[in-house]
Symmetry: C2
């Protein structure tokens, strides 16, 4: 009689899960639907409402024991008509500016704003300027994302400060508008949006992103003394909050139903594209975990919840609501995992948890080696699951390859066609494998 070790059995189950996903997976077709039939899903939009309905359906079709909606109020920011921007040159010519409003930003007056421009490379340069050099002007933050960081999230973190704090820091010096160089490591014509955050005690001034090519062109024009002033008009506004939902699909644990494993992505997306990698992929991968468990007849010992979080992009209300609901449940939220870094080939996982829990996960690492998730690193989780950390929940973030993500993140190029079916599936495989182990052995 053959006696298999636990590791051998787990390794067989890993292979079963992988085979099932590669042979019969629904993540790719679900993603196609979400991108092509629903489309962009900014909080408060009809797209977001439709996405709630449709992912609830997908979870039911995947075989979830229970599917429920978890209410939350969300901000309702709208872009309005397409932005217009141009630089008026001293020779009378006009240079069009390829811009989009930053998310959450106020719009310009209906006549737009016209002002001289002052270019800075960073906050230090801005804050070294005399107040007169900024007052009444448009500040152009031309901070280039540093291409030398191998992990593009590091470069994004550095450059993100200009999108987030740039408007308020410029406003505090009297600026009337802000142009931020797009957060992308590549030179192209696609401006990327994304949330800005106004300080409540500062004037709220209009703020736009300009494409990377546009930033280079504008910078060159400024350097050559050609630019008289800048005009731009944005039509965005923040409307009253709207009711919305997280979507949750559950498989009830067979032995420890009160130990909850959360796995999710966020359902909302920016309005410029289809929210394929950000974060349609995390949603359909999470749904796929439910599907593969049911398809293989796995009865997890602990409860698994696949969660489509609402409003990650500009408010985190869904993540907050989930944690608040969790606090009220008399259950133990043992682990939460998020996939919100794109549907690319997995490189590994990042962990934020107790050292003894990490040790347990590290003992499983060899099992993941054939599935490309070879790097188990310190620190990780996700924005939506972050609020659960206060409950002591262990956090895991899926870390896919980061090379292509920032090229299309928050831009019109984040579409279904940019997702590889196999890469998406491989992410789902390693997520399902990790969820499987924790559902069997706890943490």
């Amino acid at each position: 009689m053959a006696v298999f070790s636990q590791a051998t059995n787990d390794s067989i189950m890993f292979k079963n899960i992988s085979d099932e996903i590669f042979m019969n997976g629904k993540a790719y077709s679900n993603l196609r639907f979400l991108c092509k039939k629903v489309g962009s899903r900014l909080s408060g939009s009809t797209g977001a409402a439709k996405a709630v309905e449709e992912t609830a359906r997908m979870l039911r079709e995947a075989g979830a024991d229970t599917v429920f909606l978890q209410p939350c109020m969300v901000p309702h920011w709208v872009r309005g008509e397409k932005e217009v921007g141009k630089a008026m040159l001293n020779d009378g010519k006009v240079m069009p500016l390829n811009i989009v409003s930053l998310g959450n930003a106020v719009g310009t007056p209906s006549a737009g704003i016209t002002a001289q421009v002052v270019e800075v490379k960073n906050f230090k340069e801005l804050e070294a300027l005399a107040p007169d050099a900024v007052k009444g002007k448009i500040v152009f933050y031309n901070f280039r994302m540093d291409p030398r960081h191998i992990n593009t999230f590091k470069a994004y973190g550095e450059a993100g400060a200009y999108r987030g704090q740039g408007p308020s820091r410029a406003a505090s010096m009297g600026a009337v508008g802000v142009i931020v160089r797009t957060l992308s490591p590549v030179l192209d014509d696609n401006p990327h949006t994304g949330a800005t955050r106004y300080d409540e005690d500062k004037p709220k001034i209009p703020a736009v992103a300009i494409s990377t090519n546009g930033a280079v062109e504008l910078s060159n024009a400024i350097a050559s003394g050609k630019v008289k002033n800048i005009y731009f008009k944005t039509n965005c506004q923040m409307l009253p909050d709207e009711p919305s939902f997280n979507v949750v699909g559950e498989i009830r644990g067979s032995e420890f139903p009160d130990e909850i494993i959360t796995v999710g992505g966020h359902l909302d997306s920016w309005d410029l594209a289809e929210g394929a990698h950000d974060d349609g992929t995390g949603c359909v991968q999470s749904i796929e975990i439910i599907r593969v468990m049911k398809a293989l007849g796995i009865k997890p010992k602990r409860t698994i919840r696949a969660v489509m979080f609402m409003n990650e992009e500009n408010g985190l209300r869904g993540g907050t609501a989930y944690a608040e609901a969790a606090k009220k449940e008399n259950k133990k939220f043992i682990m939460a995992m998020e996939s919100d870094a794109g549907g690319f080939t997995p490189r590994g996982f990042g962990f934020t948890m107790h050292p003894s829990q990490k040790e347990k996960l590290l003992s499983w690492k060899p099992l993941f080696h054939p599935y490309t998730a070879t790097e188990f690193t310190e620190g990780g989780g996700g924005a939506d699951i972050g609020p659960l950390r206060a409950l002591g929940t262990a956090m895991i973030g899926l870390n896919p390859d980061s090379q292509r993500y920032m090229d299309l993140h928050h831009a019109k190029t984040d579409v279904f066609e940019a997702v590889s079916e196999r890469e998406l599936n491989l992410g789902a495989v390693v997520m399902a494998n990790m969820v499987y182990l924790i559902s069997q052995y706890g943490l």
Copy 2:
């Protein structure tokens, strides 16, 4: 006084190389030129001749001490006019077949061929058939690439037998033509070409690839008894051999000029697309190694040759000519590395060499960790450098992520736009780093 260890110095050099490539790299713009200004480069074509000239220029611009052409005669296969295929159905309707001729295949008579079709899933099914069931018919190999293999090259290896040997094995049973299901893990409408190999003692029969969607559709039609017969017409032919060249750019070693490090990709490509991932990326990465060495003022102790091999796709004449020339040189070809698996994020390297050499390479492995080349595996090299192995040359193959390669390999979708600038550069970084170490320390 600070004393740095060798590993520390190497790690600093790795970072310098990486920074230089990410800040000032030319691989991406060279690739754009090769794809958009030269285009497809099948052996013997004007594109191939132009590619020889242009990559010689790129090598000179990269700063190579010497650039030379190495002559070889190459096969000259031409596709001719676009192929036509259709299935005639019993109800009088016609189902178009989305086909392309396999490379090296003979064309049909000018009237095309019309015959009944017999579908088999594999050679076993074919060879279990009675001779009458095959004689005079078109054999349709509907072998699906197995999506369960995580490394797509494994699935490609299995399925490749049908493209390579399928025509002769069918011909030996009296078949008059062959249709092979496209070697791709995804369902789409793009037939992939690629070389077939006729046995000299068998009749040479026309052979085409059908898109994966087309294969499914044809198979369904056959299963439902709807198909009367199949017609297809191909216009390809093998013309007399043509003179061509490998392109070599060299940096002469400062201490051991007679120890040669070869690094390359192949310059020829199939005619359907731009040969971006196959193998424009390997070529421009190899050129980039020369460029980065010169840009950083590195004086390698051993000689480095970047080689654009001609005719990998349908003859390997360039690789053979390179090894023959090497035999005649009174030098030591210590290592050869090839990048011919696409310009995707590196996962690591594969090695074919003496155990003591492997041990040396393994001692360097930690240096590569920050640059994503974390997997050092047994077995590897490349088709073009293969003939050097007989001279005792150590072989290294760059192993990039394989998930997307087979989707576009040999198909019209293998274009510049399918290449990520950062992924391409990262491949060049780890190749340059490996070449740097071996140029300094030998093997």
